[in-house]
């Protein structure tokens, strides 16, 4: 008889906990994006192709399928760290074969040299270059991701990658510049 009670008790307990777990699973369900979306959200979207894939999303898919997370130079260390967090893998240094991390740059077209060949317009992954054939082109600085892809096709080399200018509104306090610094 006591065996029966024991079994009953254990059974009831199992049932109760099962119900609690089931309830928790419904109540606290985390609506999660598919992993590709999450990876894509972390990638910097420069669409530069330095990773060897034709854009950020293809790379995101590749990572989801097990590719290395250290092939994105524009994202740099911080992106690798976030990807490592998301994928639950060890963060590793940037793979130099795909380029090195650099300060943020934007493309600049020397407009009086532009011949209006539209090659850069075709190369730009985010349509950040406007202009039409035989008319000078120009870069929309706000939209440019600094991917570098327009530099190569230019037949007259009139595109430069220039670092963004620091202004008083984009200036940031630096941690290593404190607490005290003496300037000459």
């Amino acid at each position: 008889m006591s065996v029966f009670y024991a079994l009953l008790a254990v059974g009831l307990l199992a049932l109760a906990f099962g119900l609690i777990l089931g309830y928790a699973a419904i109540r606290f369900r985390v609506e999660s994006d598919p992993v590709v979306e999450q990876i894509d959200a972390i990638l910097p979207q420069t669409q530069c192709g330095q990773c060897g894939y034709p854009g950020c999303r293809p790379y995101a898919e590749a990572i989801a399928n097990g590719d290395d997370i250290n092939k994105c130079p524009p994202g740099g260390e911080s992106t690798i760290r976030k990807l490592a967090d998301l994928m639950g893998v060890e963060a590793k240094p940037l793979d130099a074969a795909h380029g090195t991390e650099d300060i943020r740059k934007v493309a600049y077209i020397r407009e009086d040299e532009c011949i209006g060949c539209t090659k850069c317009i075709q190369a730009c992954p985010v349509d950040a270059i406007v202009g039409t054939s035989k008319q000078m082109h120009t870069v929309l600085i706000d939209e440019c991701t600094g991917c570098d892809l327009c530099v190569e096709p230019c037949p007259v080399d009139c595109i430069d990658m220039v670092p963004l200018q620091v202004t008083t509104s984009s200036w940031r306090w630096q941690l290593d510049a404190i607490p005290v610094r003496t300037i000459e």
């Binding site: 669409q47 007259v156 080399d157 008083t168």
Partner: protein, 704 residues
Amino acid sequence: MQSLIEKIRQGKFSDFPGGVHPPQRKTLSNQTPIAKLPLPQRLYVTIKQHIGVEGHLEVRPGDMVLKGQPLTKSMNPFAVPVHAPTSGEVTTIAPHVSAHPSGLAEMTIEIRPDGKDEWIALAPLQDYQNQPKLKVIERICHAGISGMGGAGFPTHIKVSPKKNVEFLVVNGVECEPYISSDDRLMREHAWQIRQGIDVITHLLNPKHVLIAIEDNKPEALHAMQVACQENPDYVVCSIPTKYPAGGEKQLIQVLTGREVPNGGLPIDVGIMMQNVGTCFAIADAIFTGKPLIQRVVTLSGECFDKPGNVWALLGTPVSHLLQQGQYQPKRQRSRQLIMGGPMMGFNLVSDQVPVVKITNCILAPTEREMVQADEEQPCIRCSACADACPASLLPQQIFWHAKAKELDKAGEYNLFDCIECGACAYVCPSQIPLVHYYRVAKAEIRLQEEEKHQADKARERFEARKLRLEQEKAEREEKHRQAAEARRKALEQQESTTGNKVSAAVARAKARQQTQAAKEETPASDKVAAAVARAKARKARQEQESTSRDKVEPGEESKQDKVASAIARAKAKKAKQENASTAPDQAESPTGEQQTKASAGLNQTRESGAEPSEKQPAGDMAPSKDTKAARVAAAVARAKARKAAADQDKDQKLSPAPESASPTVALEVDEEKKQRVAAAIARAKAKKRVGVSSTDKQQDKSKS
């Protein structure tokens, strides 16, 4: 239950949590009247001295300006103009070190005073009560007034009533140690401040007007009480001295016990705050018509032999003030100048920094009088910072997370509610520069958010582009299909019908086919043309030194120079790529093949009426030393012409994005274009033959 205003009238105030009591040191500078200064040698008027956007320049170097003449102008509601602080000559307009912690250069108008100090014609608006409010607001805007308490928010926006204002708070608290500019201003110009309050009251129609002054300024209190005694609606409040009681949020809490909701504005709780200096400036603008061109600046600290308050013209370099206050640099072991107070001011990077609208104090302390934080030690979690924080934050936790770069967690502890008052760092026994950590963390978070925003935008654009390319491809395929259909039909017809009909159908089908082919080949032929042009141009370059250049460039010298420079660049590029390139012979054959294709479009080109002269420079450029070169040249000219004909079609494909230029522009063929084409050809030649043709092939491949 007492109403709020009754409580305030009785001097029953709430308190804000935390706060500190650093040594006041106000008597150092508030004993003497506000002094007038001689004109400095140069004035540096920074174009943007407020939060918002800068105006457009109204003057040019060499212009003579009168005192009070606007130097910038804008229709943008967030722009306020700056004015010439005295009469004189605009010498330069160039970047100059700015009154900003970074010390970065900002656009600045440099004025050399002529010593006459001659005013522009002033138009007071003394009967403002009978004027439309909009006109008064406009006058305030045109006087260049922005908040003089610290943030520099354009005042005309604040005094444009949108919601009902219950309390207008005039902030004369001046809680920072050392600073006494508002104190002196209230003592000496209480009447005018009151006039300014009258104007704001007229505009905003608040239920009550509170003038808040810390109880360590009894003279200013008295002066304001006297000035406001006729108007029983104005309540002069003596609030307990505690730093940072002058902070907007803290003062609201002290006076009314209300809190500005997170992410909201004081107006959300029915309160509008104005600094006494702003009130003074408004009175100036309305009653005398004078724009904001000067302000009271406190010179304090034991390094000044003559500390005190001065009327400084906006744009006065700090060095001039130092000279007037008889600054003794020897008293500082390492020299430092602070703009603002000891708690929230920033160090100047140069003594050429100009006074701007928010400059209330220049501080030059000795090491002895201002105990500075020692080297940073580990946090012992004593939470003295939390006890001092007026926003009830947990600075030690935020610090912990900020240091570990766990920015999301720092944000969770409401990092962005920090007002950077410095109370936490002031009391920290471990001498941690807490405020600095918060600033860095905030900047970092803002940067990340911006990057995220950028990335989202880029993704959107990238995807839109991908979609567009796919659509175009689908359209192309559809056309192919239709063409094939037509061919098939024609064939069937040929089989089923006889004689004329057949031949007619064949002709029709062929014609259609031809147009179709021309359209489809456009990108390819374009490429061909470019490649051919390059090949030819390369040849031409070899010739160029010996043959006549003026044929290439019938235009001016500059064009030639450009061409030459382009060639040089292109050569360099070619040299770089040399290694990667394959044998030149390989390049020739595709060129030849493509040439035939290109010539297919010849008839059409002629018909389309493209300027035949366009090909001339190209042709001349490559004297037929070599038959191949000649062929190439001819082909290029033909291809070019045809490309021009096909331009409209192509442009639609290439730049359908909304911001792209209108596609119709492209068809114009004029003289300038001719020249440009010539120059382009010369440059393009440099793209190496093989490299280019192989690239083209790749691109063709990738397109198909």
